[in-house]
Amino acid sequence: MSDPRRDTPPPPLLDVRGLSVFFRSGRGEVQVTREVSFAVAPGETVGLVGESGCGKTVTGLALMGLLPEASSRLEGQILLQGQDLVTMAPGPKRRLRGRRISMIFQEPMSALDPVFTIGQQISETVRAHHDVSRAEARDRAIEALARVGIPEPALRYDAYPHELSGGMRQRAMIAIALVCEPELLIADEPTTALDVTVQAQIVDVLGELCARLGMAMLFITHDLGLLAQTCSRLVTMYAGEVVEEGRVDDILVRPRHPYSSGLLRSLPALTRRKAALPAIPGRVPLRGEMPAGCRFRPRCAHARSGCEAPQALRPVPSAGQARCCRAEALTLPGVLAGEQAA
């Protein structure tokens, strides 16, 4: 791991600053995420983790510019090497999608077009961004299929999505996303629909491609094990906000936000077999009922009087950042036993 230490960060490839997403609904606007900020360095793999409804997918879609303009509004900045995607005109943004940023999704069957062959869908991407002949686009598509480990790529070029297995479809989608060698890949739960042995294959393919192409990856997942395996840095989201950010290895051992700690401790693998699992009490607050101050406060075992005040995402000495006024005072359990974590 050639992780750059926090004190000397390289200039980020992607710098998300105070990104808030609003959805228009009948009666007005609903805020879905609040001031999400994080950065991804070139070639870095960053995990975005949280439970359903925390805003991680919406953030991914916002980065790609895939939220419907008529019913959503963004505030803040999404800087891709200094260029702000929030204010960018639709034309330039379209040229950038698929070439410099790509995204893959959980369900390859709904992301692929059933009436075109896999190869046609890859060639289409090539020809949308590069002025090349059909024959050359075909060659590149076949090369992309080979790169993601699809056997007999020249034959598979003419296969329709329904003719492929789930794992092969996901590989085909990765081939589409990577054919133009983007600088950043947003992977939204890319293996959730797959079996664990196939998941291991896909994760290997992604890791290899990241290393070979020097590509950065934003890996959106709810699976902390998968995240530990694929990412070097971690961003935890809760109720539409980033609550913690830091190196994966640090956070696994000593999380700085009670929610990160709760997520880790509720993994069944970490509790003695058959013993009660430490669950997080309560549930994620609904959009309209966000508590003032710390949004995790009603479920937090460590809540004190200061927690009703709004919490800022602050750097924690010799760690990442946390949105918790007690981050320095608390010693929260991670995945290891107490004495090892200290």
Partner: protein
């Protein structure tokens, strides 16, 4: 535990589906196992392995095409239609998707009461009282009685499904991916609830899942399925620590573990390929097409299902003689006692 009586048994059980005139899908093909009273019997396997069909057959939702299912030593299909329906009340299923399992137009109370209404053995007032009692037992207050499924969160809906099957006081519950759709913190809640209910009502669980962390945590014994057959079965401790079948080994090794990079097992077994079609499984050992140790013998002869160590069964010609490749992967599940944290 060993003296416990056998509640559900399969004897050379087969469940076959005819696809057309020439092809038969043997979803379950020659499986023998015994589930003991009061235990949690885990079944793991990838999609298409036949684990759901096996679970359904064990509680008489599928009629065996070959072999037998025995409930308490007797063949339930020898019963008349009406007697079978009554008998089946003892054997319930909790499904993966509570949205699909609950009628959106029924109030929660009515959904919970419905099995009692169908059984029709109790007067209305008692059914009502029993349903409310079960709702409270699974942690749903009376306020929920008049609500509809769409007003509940995923975890709450799964509680409704559990209350619903409990009303009939079953002895066996098949949990078919019952926590797969839930976030980890909610999953922990539901697993805790299931464990409490097991102690309180003396339930026997057949726990079907693809999630190793979950199955390792809850099960007393685990069976591993591959293409309609069992490849390994044993106590959870033995199977996780010393897998005898190369497929189990690979499954354990593929499971991503949330550990810092320096503590993760250095080598993983990543299986090539995917599950072959269960319609035309490979000759001999069905796993041989993906097995690192496959020899000529494996294609020629189907391995015997044998007790390699006391209580630890496997179907592999070389079980017990293979290098312990994933030794150490099992230890990823070595629990870190929560008590040690205080």
């Amino acid at each position: 535990m060993t003296a416990a009586r056998t509640l559900v048994a399969a004897r050379d059980l087969g469940v076959h589906f005819r696809l057309d005139r020439h092809r038969v899908l043997k979803a379950v093909d020659g499986i023998s196992l015994e589930v003991r009273a009061g235990e949690t019997f885990g079944i793991i396997g990838e999609s298409g392995s036949g684990k759901t069909t096996l679970g359904r057959a064990l509680v008489c939702l599928e009629k065996p095409s070959a072999g037998q299912v025995l409930h308490d030593g007797a063949d339930p299909f020898a019963l008349s239609g009406r007697a079978l329906r009554q008998h089946r009340r003892n054997y319930q299923v909790v499904f993966q998707d509570p949205n699909a399992a609950l009628d959106p137009r029924m109030t929660i109370l009515r959904s919970v009461r419905e099995p009692l209404d169908v059984a029709g053995t109790l007067p209305r007032a008692e059914r009502q009282a029993l349903a409310l009692q079960m709702m409270e037992r699974v942690g749903l207050s009376r306020d929920f009685a008049a609500r509809y499924p769409h007003e509940l969160s995923g975890g709450q809906k799964q509680r409704v499904c559990i209350a619903r099957v409990l009303t009939l006081r079953p002895s066996v519950i098949v949990c078919d991916e019952a926590v797969a759709a839930l976030d980890v913190s909610i999953q922990a809640d539901i697993l805790n609830l299931l464990a409490e209910l097991q102690r309180e009502f003396g339930l026997t669980y057949i726990f079907i899942t693809h999630n190793l962390g979950v199955v390792a945590h809850v099960s007393d014994r685990i069976a591993v399925m591959y293409l309609g057959r069992l490849v390994e079965m044993g106590t959870a401790e033995a199977l996780l620590a010393r897998p005898l079948h190369p497929y189990t080994d690979a499954l354990l090794s593929s499971e991503p573990v949330a550990l810092p990079s320096h503590m993760r097992p250095a080598q993983r077994v990543v299986l090539g390929g995917e599950l072959p079609s269960p319609v035309s499984p490979p000759s001999g050992c069905r796993f041989r097409t993906r097995c690192r140790f496959a020899q000529d013998l494996c294609a020629a002869r189907e391995p015997e299902w044998r007790e390699v160590e006391p209580g630890h069964w496997a179907a592999c010609h070389f079980a017990g003689a293979l290098p312990a490749t994933s030794a150490g992967h099992g230890t990823a599940y070595t629990p870190v006692p929560t008590e040690a944290l205080s």
